[in-house]
Subunit: 601 residues, 2 copies
Amino acid sequence: MAQIRLALAQLNVTVGDIAGNADAILRWAQHAADRGAHVVAFPEMALTGYPVEDLALRTSFVDASRAAMDDLAAKLAAAGLGNLTVICGYLDRDPEGYDRLGRPKGSPQNAAAIVHGGRVVARAVKHHLPNYGVFDEYRYFVPGDTLQVVTVHGIDIAVVICEDLWQEGGPVRATRAAGAGLLLAINASPYERTKDDERLKLVTRRAREAMCPLAYVNMVGGQDELVFDGDSIVVDESGTVVTRAPQFSEGLLTVDLDLAGTTRGADEYAGIRIERTVISDRPLPPYQPARSGIAPRLDEEAEIYTAIVTGLRDYVEKNGHRSVVVGLSGGIDSALTATIACDALGPENVYGVSNPSKYSSEHSKVDAAELAERTGLNFRVIPIEDIKEAFLRQLPLTGVADENLQARIRGMIWMSIANQEGHLVLASGNKSELAVGYSTIYGDAVGAYAPLKDVPKTWVWRLARWRNQRARELGETPPIPERSITKEPSAELRPGQRDTDSLPPYEVLDDVLDDYVEQDASAADLVAAGFDPDLVERVIRMVDAAEFKRRQYPPGPKITFKAFGRDRRLPLTNRWRESVTDHQPSPAPARAASPGEGPRG
Amino acid sequence: MAQIRLALAQLNVTVGDIAGNADAILRWAQHAADRGAHVVAFPEMALTGYPVEDLALRTSFVDASRAAMDDLAAKLAAAGLGNLTVICGYLDRDPEGYDRLGRPKGSPQNAAAIVHGGRVVARAVKHHLPNYGVFDEYRYFVPGDTLQVVTVHGIDIAVVICEDLWQEGGPVRATRAAGAGLLLAINASPYERTKDDERLKLVTRRAREAMCPLAYVNMVGGQDELVFDGDSIVVDESGTVVTRAPQFSEGLLTVDLDLAGTTRGADEYAGIRIERTVISDRPLPPYQPARSGIAPRLDEEAEIYTAIVTGLRDYVEKNGHRSVVVGLSGGIDSALTATIACDALGPENVYGVSNPSKYSSEHSKVDAAELAERTGLNFRVIPIEDIKEAFLRQLPLTGVADENLQARIRGMIWMSIANQEGHLVLASGNKSELAVGYSTIYGDAVGAYAPLKDVPKTWVWRLARWRNQRARELGETPPIPERSITKEPSAELRPGQRDTDSLPPYEVLDDVLDDYVEQDASAADLVAAGFDPDLVERVIRMVDAAEFKRRQYPPGPKITFKAFGRDRRLPLTNRWRESVTDHQPSPAPARAASPGEGPRG
């Protein structure tokens, strides 16, 4: 057995900011050394950020990543950290790469550098390239074909990258044959609901298969629609948790491990070549290990809420902004959006706007003002009636066109404030509305980011109640006016309008959507599950016709299995309309691509 | 040798309209039989349309495709076509499929059914799954692993699907070993500029490798951002063209071939199992072959213009619409967009709107009206000044916010007309503007479709001149006012504004964009090629910061190698800014995600 102090750096990096990320890596490596670590591991693609998308296909970007990693190695040594072994994800290229139709140009690879003594002494390359859900790695990377085992202080550390852990076969399968004392996985593994439970099950299983402890380091923070939840873990060879990092917060997890000493295992297993790099084969003199903690898990509402706050904060800040505009209708969606924005950016950076029309109820105006009062956000009232009248003098409108006009005047006001004063606009729509197209494109759908995009309406209420309850527990003022939570939803675009004029009750709608969208249940499945056939056909028709609006909606933090966008994408021209009785599509023409269609324009 | 009459059905189908597509296949099969064909081949995924995107992952959709193919086989027999061999693309599933993380759920396959005597007698499955550019097939399909050879009237026909022809190895490589008399490839191969030349080179090479004639049948028509150009071809074993179909038009290409009779070739080659199905091994009695023609190629401008017209027409019609709204500024982009719309839908279905402001020049108003006069489209004038004043009374604006407001009032007017009267809005932006973010989101960027989205500004002029010249050649009135072509571009959002206030001259800009966007050249490459370093950095900064706007822009027909969207996609939060001097990113904060940023909001 041999001892080692391992540090896992759960970092929040920014895509493309190679210089800034390198600085952060250097700083955290110093911190790890200060805490006596012998090895420090950073997440997948920590140097470039993840996901880099088409930047991977730019030769200059791959060159920059490679050069920055060499430079980082030199800087580590210059800072007196040459003896620290640093394992860090970056973008590299296949040294034997070649160009061929359909193969990523320049042969980019998702790699880990093993740095010691001022240089990159070895590299591990991701073997399994996920190409489902939010991932497109088959498009961007060339896979690796070896398992890298690096010996540090007499311990054989097998290094793998993210999906390598999730898939059967590949380098993880070779770990036991390699006789590794530790399996180290570096990750950029995005949050989704209950992902932490899945992750724990996975690392437990893989540790048992590898017959050695497993250390798992993950990213934190938001990047476009992804939110990384951290949750770095170390388990022992039986899968028992040794230490675990908090969710969603940046930090260094340090752990003392007593591991099997170096062995000469196989050089190849099941088609995977095992490559060995010895940094030091002498075990450390025995020392007193420090104790490591296990961070408590967030409960379900706290976890989802924190994911959304994290996603919003990073989206705004990493794009060089500080402040946001939110239209406040007095309803629950905008109230929760504004509250989340206050938690993410501070109320002084949130600019609420109330835009009453002649159809706005008294309580809408009061509740919007009360939300501002409770949260302390900046508030102003800009009525839309005069603008609307000026517009209608030029172009008389009726029905849905008239309703859309009101929503679009509001959107134009928010965008004008944002352009004039330098904020970003937040869209307040939720996942249920978005699923069925219940929004006005270029109206309430304007904005740079949509915090509730992946939150079903029933969960909007649940999160609002939870947020108020948490405030009460902390002795603070609950931010959301009670009436915004309890009142019946209405777009207030015509007299007496209610959401249920166009939609089923949200409790029912959310159940149908969960089955149809998340589970890919068929119309027949839904009827078999007890839903009303007419309701099923109606909802499916709305969902399939709303693809255009969904694609044009602002990005938002992904929190469920299937968020609209990359991991659920229908054709725009799509005449497929499932019937509850058979598998024949209805002959009725689809009208999916019109921005003016749907229950609201 | 043995004779056969082969028909290639170059069809325009609609994604999801399985019933409608099946009817069309039946109709064209009847037509092929009427013309004496023994075998008729339909394009890849002709039954479902292509690309089906996430529909492939719905069990109910795969079931529907399979059931419809069986039903089609029965209907063909019932119609007296049981002796005709029909080869047709559809969505099937791997009979030995299994579910695993990262594998498409339900094991969908991109397949060809070989139909005879009222049933599906064999199937071929696509082997190479493209996952680059506009393709995501690795996400949607499970690959096949055999080469299907079907013997019809004593001729061995090897059947492959699209990408199988483009990639080395796989079933095409096994064709010669299989001793096939004909290699038949069914395709859904999207248009891009000069694609027909690439295609001809490819089929020539493959025919020589396979040592037998090659028949290539392709789709026509628009589907979302793709346009299929048809261009079905038959070459002999030396690669010489025997017959070739017109570009962009639906039709049946019929050819008499005299081919090597059936042989018993290998059962396996280079890991590909060769599967054989005998429909009839008796050669036909000799008959007098008919002659087949070779359709002339369109010249470059005609080809691009026709692709755009085709894409627009199908996008509108397949979505159940007939008419469009176009804002007419008097400038070249809107003039060309409206002209294309008139050619696609007829001028009676095109609604032009002029929205002058106090900054609009006299010639802008005159030129917009003259375009309407020349083309015969519906025309109205709605000034924006009163609406703008009503707005500014509520919310005073200056600078870019004020410029954006004008563009947004116009967008709101077009959307209102579309909603009120039931049209789709067309956006008039070109690829150069879109590349650098020179547009107002929710303003001139509103719309269901953007015909010029992939057309660089210098090509906008070129197409406009070509269209007018074609009119003159035909003795018709040139649709586009000469001054719209010759005047200096201006957004006219402030007094005396010119595009060159914010942008380099378009001739220079388009050259830089071609290198940076299409060729992935680095900043250093561009400087080495002779561009001014400041200009290069400025253009790159604009391009990298405009990703948000590009993603929110309406879809449009893809005509070049790299269209914005699926096949060029940058992160939204992206601090990578290439410098001309080295590979280090600049430390300046990116401001990519703000809808209010860029040379125009």
